[in-house]
Symmetry: C2
């Protein structure tokens, strides 16, 4: 009983900070995306391929979480966009306070898109709201098609499933149709994009998804400001 | 501060139960191995290939942990050895109490080897002692060679690293020598076996490791009983 009460308290504190972040992101019209996967599913590679396709004028930034090392931040910094590493020092997930602290001295007015790469873990990060507009789960085909049923929480909470490393399909025992069926069994509305960061397959669709999702973030705030002051 | 205190209390309770399990395993001369990896690194496939190579007289049993589904227990039951699924219902790791409960009605005197397949998670299971003689970390080459540096705790605590899915090496960007160097940087004494459950490569070495490790479990108890009663 004590443990349950404690968990609730921790999550409430996290939810409070996450709500503050969400309000900030909304005020600045920022789409924030929380990328979650097992270790090695290809989150960093997906971000590399994403940043390399963005023009220099793109208003994008990345927070990347790891238990140890700043390898990912160094990999991602090459494209010249703001990148910051959050090293959790043992924690198995990012929480809202870590994101709040990492953003403290950033000018959010200069951003349209914030990509948050969580710690590699298909379980724990799903319980921690970071104030993001959308969670995206990345699953590598090398991990097996049964993962949506075995780790349902993250598939239930994610708007989009990125099925990555499809270039490995000829060499692994992975039934693509079955994996999609399992994901939709857990979350019927989940969108699915198949990608390969090696061949570039599906990356256009991923960028289109980001663009469309960003439009959804901006639209309500325009409508809201019009509703507030119809004369302006 | 409160959170740290809580974690300590939970771990102390876990350690108490784990010590009880360890004493039971020692009394019965059982080698218990705790297999830890990311989701989809190939723990279940490794166990399938292990059980299929054992003769019917082998005194082996398997506990397999998952958040949801009993898929793995069903996969593993085919070889006729005792297999039990532990479904954690959300928890990101096995703990000693789950193992204790799963073993409650098993006759440990009938076992020489207990293989425990943890929940797919490269982070949290490393903090929970299950009373095992050895932790074994399984890393798929599809996950990337940097994982020992990014998730050091489990590589530090494991006696053996099983580098699995080496059949995929031609198709992925994975530097085998570098991965081994990173693992040894975290844990200089770690043993490393390269395996493929698809081609069968390295499985003999894995079985030899289990045999040698079992001999280490049995030997001290013989020495102990001789020391206790030299006349017998």
């Amino acid at each position: 009983m004590t443990r349950v009460a404690m968990e609730r308290k921790v999550l409430t504190e996290n939810d409070r900070i996450a709500a503050g972040l969400r309000a900030q992101f909304a005020r600045h019209g920022i789409l924030s995306v929380n990328l979650i996967s097992s270790p090695g599913a290809g989150k960093t590679s997906l971000l590399e391929r994403t940043l390399e396709r963005f023009g220099a004028g793109e208003r994008v930034a990345v927070l990347t979480g790891d238990i140890q090392t700043d390898n990912d931040a160094r990999r991602l910094a090459r494209w010249g966009f703001p990148v910051r590493q959050i090293t959790t020092g043992g924690a198995c997930h990012l929480d809202a306070r870590m994101v709040e602290q990492a953003l403290a001295d950033w000018d959010l007015a200069s951003l349209d898109l914030l990509l948050i790469e969580n710690v590699g873990n298909l379980v724990c990060p799903s319980s921690y709201d970071l104030g993001e507009a959308a969670k995206v789960v990345v699953l590598s085909v090398a991990e097996g098609d049964d993962k949506p049923l075995k780790y349902p929480a993250i598939f239930f909470k994610s708007e989009l499933l990125v099925l990555n490393k499809v270039d490995l399909l000829p060499y692994v025992n992975f039934d693509l149709a079955l994996a999609c069926e399992y994901a939709r069994r857990v979350h019927p509305q989940i969108e699915i994009i198949e990608t390969s960061c090696t061949t570039g397959a599906g990356l256009d669709k991923w960028l289109e998804w980001l663009k469309a999702r960003r439009a959804m973030v901006v639209a309500p705030s325009i409508i809201l400001s019009e509703a507030k002051d119809p004369r302006s």
